[in-house]
């Protein structure tokens, strides 16, 4: 969680230098969902994500260096400059890629779960998506099939209330996202996505259920997008967000709240926190140095990778 936050803050800080020539979709404020869910997964479980995928990639164990190099469009990037920020992948840790088509990865994750059943192994498949993906028909098509086949897939909706600048109330007949999977008899939970312990415990149940053949589950995690849809900061914040909503959510910080609990319960000391911060800062520094010193892709290889 801390790693995700610090990486995102560094990207945000350096983005105005115009060297990362790729649209960024920061997940600051939403880190607890990625961290809480992925903490329950094995390395070879599958995770699928979205355009806002930095946190999911890192939480599943994706290479930080390859991610930053990708943002800088380098040959050492996780997709060698072909995919950019919205299309991260690291199959070596089961992070199976991002789709920047809203809802696009929902059926693909469902298909990975079908593979698991057909091959009789116990891998589960997790797909992250936002509230706007619940407006896409493909979610309901996928849930019907997953429920029908009892597939080991966990649908994780990060409801951050906004699709670009449009609030959920401007797009949906009601805000009961978690009620909709119940029409397919899919167990569904509405949870505080800013509370990492709550995310961890609920996703643990969903993942254990999936692994033991009980079929899919759905988690609606209410979170808040602290930044704009894309790019650093949120320059139009006051023009589209409600002030009381903003204030209410800003009182919560998934990171600080959890840190306070850990300190209060004497699970971690201030010194340990400092050490963790320093270690992460060092990793980040190395990753950015690695990225900036890496070669760009060879223009002569423009056509490479179209086919396997």
């Amino acid at each position: 969680m801390l790693r995700i936050r610090l990486v995102e803050l560094k990207i945000e800080e350096l983005y105005p230098q115009d060297e990362m020539k790729t649209p960024i979709h920061l997940c600051i404020g939403q880190e607890a969902v990625a961290a809480g869910v992925c903490a329950n997964l094995n390395k070879d479980d599958y995770v699928f994500s979205t355009h806002r995928g930095h946190g999911h990639y890192l939480a599943k164990g994706g290479s930080l260096k390859a991610m930053i190099a990708e943002l800088y469009g380098r040959e050492t990037g996780c997709t060698k400059g072909r995919g950019g920020s919205m299309h991260l992948i690291d199959t070596s840790v089961g992070f199976m890629g991002c789709s920047s088509i809203v809802g696009g990865n929902i059926p693909i994750a469902t298909g990975a779960a079908l593979s698991s059943v057909l091959c009789e192994h116990d891998k589960v498949s997790v797909v992250f998506f936002g509230d706007a993906a619940t407006e896409e028909g493909i979610l309901y098509e996928s849930m019907n099939f997953a429920a029908f086949k009892k597939l080991p897939v966990i649908y994780v909706c990060e409801n951050n209330f906004y699709s670009v600048y449009s609030h959920q109330s401007a797009r949906q007949a009601n805000d009961h996202i978690h009620m909709r999977p119940k029409a397919f008899d899919i167990p569904s939970y509405q949870i505080d996505g800013a509370n990492v312990a709550e995310v961890y415990l609920n996703s643990k149940k969903a993942i254990v259920d999936a692994r033991s053949g009980k079929g899919p589950s759905f988690l609606e995690c209410k979170v808040y997008r602290w930044r704009a849809h894309s790019g650093p900061g949120d320059p139009l914040k006051e023009a589209y967000r409600k002030k009381d909503e903003w204030k209410k959510w800003m009182k919560k910080d998934p990171l600080k709240d959890f840190e306070n609990i850990l300190v209060k319960e004497s699970i971690i000391t201030d010194k340990e926190i400092k050490n963790i911060n320093e270690k992460i800062d060092k990793d980040i520094l190395e990753a950015f140095e690695f990225a900036k010193s890496s070669p760009f892709p060879d223009k002569g290889e423009l056509m490479k990778y179209l086919f396997r």
């Binding site: 072909r82 059926p107 693909i108 469902t110 086919f307 396997r308």
Partner: protein, 347 residues
């Protein structure tokens, strides 16, 4: 559906690759069923999905009773959720399986365009080879008997436009088997479009598995005066036209590209170099279609070979009508090809 049987028998093509030889002959659907049977037996990663693949009609016979032999886990009916189920097939493919997804009609693939165009075709490139999509999508053009605007389309021009897809359009049972094998083995998404009117056509099909490489066209008939390139069922119409043109003293060469992506450009260019005349015949609209693409390729790479302008015989740019009288007016046949060939030859 009894009507299709009648219609197809009326349309039984005369063409036979091996006249007079006592070789085993199969229809296209028999050849495909045999291929699927052999693929399922050989490769545990192969599975078959699609609306009605385990029903008593078995997808025009192509998948008939395979579920009884291999179980409903590997041969399964699907909900009518073409977009999601295409995504499901992609997800299975990127995690190691080799799905084959059957559709009755190309028309229904329009419901799956997001997953085909935005996902299947993109993953290899977008992820720099870190994902592969060994997926075959099969659909059967449903021409005739008033099937009309939404059950007769071919639409392969749309797929030909998209980088990252293979596009296969077999015209014989022999090719259907060999190209399907290549499609199953290929690590890329393959759109495999068949034509209902070829389904009773018999040709020699070896029993053992064999693969026809993509991008290898075939000279179906050798000639020196004019080249006719046919796509899918129009190969048969082109061969019929060639027979009649022969009677008038014109020696026609008929080329069957067999796959449109990759396209065997060389076989077409070599033929045009020899004949100097070209007619292209397609089962799709002309505008931005496969025929126009082939014409453009020849114009760019072989203009100096041409002794007369290229002619394209394709669908008029309107939806497919239903009444059989209007169908007659809509669909080009051997007569249109003969007329076009004579126009080109007498320029």
């Amino acid at each position: 559906m009894p009507w299709t049987k009648i219609l197809i028998e009326k349309q039984e093509p005369d063409f036979d690759e091996h006249p007079g030889q006592q070789l085993r002959k199969l229809t296209v659907s028999e050849a495909i069923r045999e291929t699927l049977d052999q693929a399922l037996a050989r490769d545990k990663q192969v599975f078959i999905m699609g609306q009605g693949v385990d029903d008593p009609a078995g997808m025009f016979g192509m998948t008939l009773e395979l579920h009884k032999k291999y179980g409903n886990e590997r041969v399964f009916d699907t909900p009518l959720s073409e977009n999601a189920l295409t995504g499901v097939a992609i997800g299975a493919a990127v995690t190691g399986m080799r799905p084959i997804y059957f559709h009755n009609r190309p028309d229904f693939l329009m419901l799956a365009m997001d997953q085909i165009v935005n996902h299947a075709s993109k993953l290899s490139y977008m992820f720099a080879g870190n994902a592969r999509v060994p997926l075959v999508i099969v659909a059967v053009i449903g021409r005739g008997w008033g099937s009309g605007a939404q059950h007769s389309q071919s639409l392969h021009g749309l797929f030909m436009h998209v980088p990252g897809l293979r596009l296969v359009m077999p015209s014989t049972a022999y090719d259907a088997k060999g190209l399907l094998v290549s499609g199953i083995v290929d690590d890329n998404p393959v759109i495999f479009i068949e034509h209902r009117w070829l389904f009773k056509h018999k040709s020699h099909v070896p029993e053992e598995l064999y693969a026809i490489p993509f991008g290898k066209g075939l000279i179906r008939r050798k000639g020196k005066d004019i080249t006719i390139v046919g796509v899918s069922y129009m190969v048969i119409e082109a061969l019929r036209a060639a027979e009649e043109l022969q009677k008038d003293g014109y020696d026609v060469e008929v080329i069957d590209p067999r796959t449109l992506i990759p396209l065997d450009e060389q076989i077409i260019l070599d033929s045009v170099k020899k004949t100097g005349h070209l007619v292209i015949v397609d089962t799709d609209w002309k505008r931005c279609g496969a025929a126009s693409e082939i014409a453009s390729m020849v114009a760019q790479k072989g203009l100096s070979y041409l002794k007369a302008p290229i002619k394209i015989i394709a669908w008029p740019d309107i939806p497919v009508p239903s009444s059989n009288i209007l169908e007659e007016a809509f669909y080009p046949s051997k007569d249109n090809i003969i007329r076009a060939a004579k126009e080109v030859l007498n320029k």
